[in-house]
């Protein structure tokens, strides 16, 4: 079941759509629509996630606009990673993890049995919280995705893709002389950028980034943020971050999670400057976290 968000007809800019106004379909989330409407290709509806008996997400409904960056914020353990993993069905790999509800990409439910999860993951790339390069060479790490999908028509083209991806991830200068060395031998921050290069090498439509900069120094962080800004023009990006400044710098929309619930979502400046929900205000001002 796909439910579209009703038009914002209260008139006031950034007026919150309260739970009562939106009806039960929206849970208790406080929503502020965009002033400029954006296309939405990725929608989550009533998503519940359970790890065994423990519920980690409660009735999360969220629209992810296209060609924009949505950041997920919230205290540790609130379910940001869990939500992210639902989008490329990485939760499938976790034993005892159960997802109910609906997530649609271009109108198709990604949990539909007829959907091919391999294709889904080629469309939805992911950068993990902890860098996890393959124990292969730097080159192989980036070339792997394009190769298994047959993206490059020639060796030279594959090399171009690898070089371009490494450049965009801001890693090229550091690894151009050590492409044959194992990716696991890089520093933590370099490994994370290698993982970003690996993810963008297959040109996914949606990119999920789980705290991509948590292991990076400010310069590398700036490179990644620039990259995100560049990628935004083409892709749909969801980024988990613990840094309010980063959310402000890179994202257009922000969703605030707390204890497994989506408390509030809306344009980034609204969430960070004029949050409507009490919990969001507390978090932004540092009272919970």
């Amino acid at each position: 079941m796909t439910v579209s968000i009703p038009p914002d007809n209260t008139g006031a800019p950034h007026a919150p759509v309260s739970a009562s106004a939106a009806g039960p379909a929206y849970g208790e989330t406080v929503r502020t629509p965009d002033t400029v409407p954006r296309d939405v290709r990725l929608r989550a509806r009533h998503v519940d996630v359970f790890y065994g008996d423990k519920q980690a997400l409660f009735d999360v409904s969220l629209d992810i606009p296209e060609k924009a960056v949505t950041s997920l914020i919230g205290p540790s353990g609130c379910g940001k990673t869990t939500f992210l993993r639902c989008v490329n069905r990485m939760n499938d790999t976790i034993e005892d993890c159960r997802v109910t509800g609906e997530i649609t990409l271009d109108g198709q439910n990604i949990y539909d049995p007829s959907l091919d999860v391999v294709e889904l993951r080629s469309r939805v790339g992911m950068v993990f919280q902890k860098p996890n390069p393959f124990p292969k060479s730097v080159y192989e790490n980036v070339a792997y995705g394009p190769r298994i999908h047959g993206l490059a028509r020639s060796r030279a083209e594959l090399e171009d893709i690898v070089v371009a991806s490494l450049r965009r991830a801001g890693l090229w200068e550091e690894v151009k002389d050590r492409l044959r060395e194992p990716g696991t031998g890089l520093s933590g921050g370099q490994q994370q950028r290698l993982c970003i290069a690996r993810a963008i090498a297959v040109s996914p439509e949606v990119i999920l980034m789980d705290e991509p900069c948590s292991a990076l120094d400010p310069i590398a962080t700036a490179v990644i943020e620039e990259l995100i800004d560049e990628l935004r023009l083409l892709y749909t990006i969801i980024i988990v971050t613990h840094s309010m400044q980063q959310a402000a710098r890179v994202s257009q929309r922000t969703a605030f999670f707390h204890l497994g619930r989506l408390v509030e979502e809306g344009p980034t400046e609204v969430i960070l400057r004029h949050p409507q929900a009490k919990k969001t205000q507390d978090y932004i001002t540092g009272r919970i976290g």
């Binding site: 080629s122 390069p133 792997y144 298994i148």
Partner: protein
């Protein structure tokens, strides 16, 4: 706030005192544990060294065997056969071969014992009295056949005298090496007094020496000529079985482990399979022998004593070991590696073959080699499928009758001529252990090499 700060300061003080007080005790425990571990290793190494040392000291003499250098005369008075048939013009190949066989049979019928006897007499000091049996007892019986073969290969030897190295009989070897008590009275000696004296004399004259026993590796087992018995048949039998185990147990075991670990859904049936594989690993090997006899020989009608049956039985026995080792190697691969591959769109099979298997390959290889080495040394199941039978030929195919190295050791261990075969058995054990060590060293070498690469 204030009293918390006080608590922390107090705690820090207490920590300082407590740590200092407990340090010596902790270091003591540390030292004790290390000393214990070192002792355990020293004991284990000592035991292994003792075992190897004992085997080597007992088996080493078997590698050097008493060998006579005799002047053998192919006496035309004894070898009274016509010259070999020449191939007549127009004679068919088959006819010629038939005529040749008739001639060879005549050669065989010649009194080769007399030739050997004369050769021994000629070697003895002038005027030395020895009867025919006594002279023949010095030389291993197979040497007569060797002389015959020499003559068949080269009929031109007729009337010539050539020097031939011949194996001394097992009893002579025992006497000269002192493996039989030289003080025993005549009645309890295997050789007559004359033969013993002659053996000692020839050794002193250098006509008997101890030469390296190459035949231990090139000959098959032999009852009639124990001194000439070798391991070749058993070795080839073991080799066939090893190849069968490698060809069947390794791929089947690794494939099942991959399926069970990576693809099989977790439910009651797979749980049951898992439990049963673990049970199978604990089944005594002799039971596998019974199973092999019942299934492969009785039901499928495969031949007794054949390496193919042995190989199949050992495959069954090795499978659980390989499956369990491979599964635990696969389980050790972190989820993050699989997720990394899946996240770029690799299918589960691609993930396994491109990422999981390469990192587990060294461990899988090691477990496979160790499993095969274990199978190579397994004896009990072989006894039940008749591989302890006496077989005097090298098996040409895995379907021929054959023995195997461990079964051969078992056979020799039970041989009546204890004095001679004790050293023989140890020598065979050395060969088997050598093979095992080679395999294990190969496993270690490959693992370190592959792990360094990546």
């Amino acid at each position: 706030m204030a009293d918390i700060a006080v608590d922390i300061a107090e705690l820090a003080n207490r920590r300082r005192l407590c740590v200092r007080a407990s340090l010596s005790r902790r270091h003591l425990i540390e030292r004790l544990f290390r000393a214990g571990g070192l002792t355990a290793i020293v004991i284990a190494l000592g035991l292994v060294a003792t075992l190897f040392g004992m085997m080597a000291s007992k088996g080493a003499p078997a590698f050097m065997q008493a060998t006579l250098s005799l002047d053998v005369t192919f006496d035309p008075a004894v070898i009274t056969v016509a010259p070999p048939p020449a191939r007549a013009a127009g004679q068919s190949e088959a006819d010629y071969r038939a005529a040749m066989l008739v001639w060879q049979r005549q050669v065989t019928l010649a009194n080769w014992s007399a030739i050997v006897e004369t050769a021994v007499r000629n070697a003895a000091p002038p005027g030395f009295e020895i009867d025919r049996r006594g002279a023949l007892a010095l030389v291993e019986t197979n040497e007569r056949h060797r002389l015959r073969d020499m003559f068949v290969a080269d009929p031109g030897l007729l009337g010539q005298t050539v020097r031939v190295d011949m194996l001394a009989s097992a009893n002579t070897d025992n006497w000269l090496k002192g493996t039989i008590n030289r003080a025993l009275p005549d009645s309890r000696q295997q050789l007559s007094r004359q033969t013993r004296t002659l053996a000692d004399t020839l050794l002193a004259e250098g006509k008997i020496r101890f030469a390296f026993a190459w035949h231990l590796f090139t000959n098959t087992d032999s009852r009639s000529a124990p001194a000439a018995a070798g391991l070749a048949g058993a070795f080839v039998g073991s080799l066939y079985m090893m190849l069968i185990v490698i060809a069947l147990a390794v791929p089947i075991g690794v494939a099942s482990a991959i399926y069970l670990e990576e693809f099989a859904p977790r439910h009651r049936v797979t749980d049951l399979i898992e439990v049963n594989i673990n049970n199978l690993a604990a089944v005594p090997s002799i039971v596998f022998g019974l199973l092999g006899a019942a299934v492969f020989i009785r039901y499928f009608g495969l031949p007794m004593s054949a390496p193919v049956v042995g190989g199949l039985v050992l495959t069954l026995m090795t499978l659980p070991t390989i499956i369990i080792a491979t599964r635990s190697a696969l389980r050790a691969v972190p989820l993050s590696l699989r997720q990394a591959a899946l996240a770029v769109g690799a299918s589960p099979t691609q993930t396994v073959f491109h990422h999981v298997l390469p990192v587990t390959f060294p461990a899988i290889l090691t477990s496979a080699i160790i499993g095969v080495a274990q199978a190579l040394g397994e004896t009990a199941p072989l006894l039940l499928i008749g591989m302890n039978a006496f077989v005097a030929s090298i098996p040409a195919t895995p379907f021929d009758q054959s023995s195997a190295l461990p079964a051969q050791i078992y056979l020799w261990q039970g041989n009546e001529n204890r004095n001679f075969f004790e050293a023989r058995t140890s020598a065979a054990i050395m060969v088997l252990l050598g093979l095992m060590i080679t395999l294990n060293a190969l496993a270690i070498f490959l693992r370190t090499r592959l792990e360094r690469r990546v």
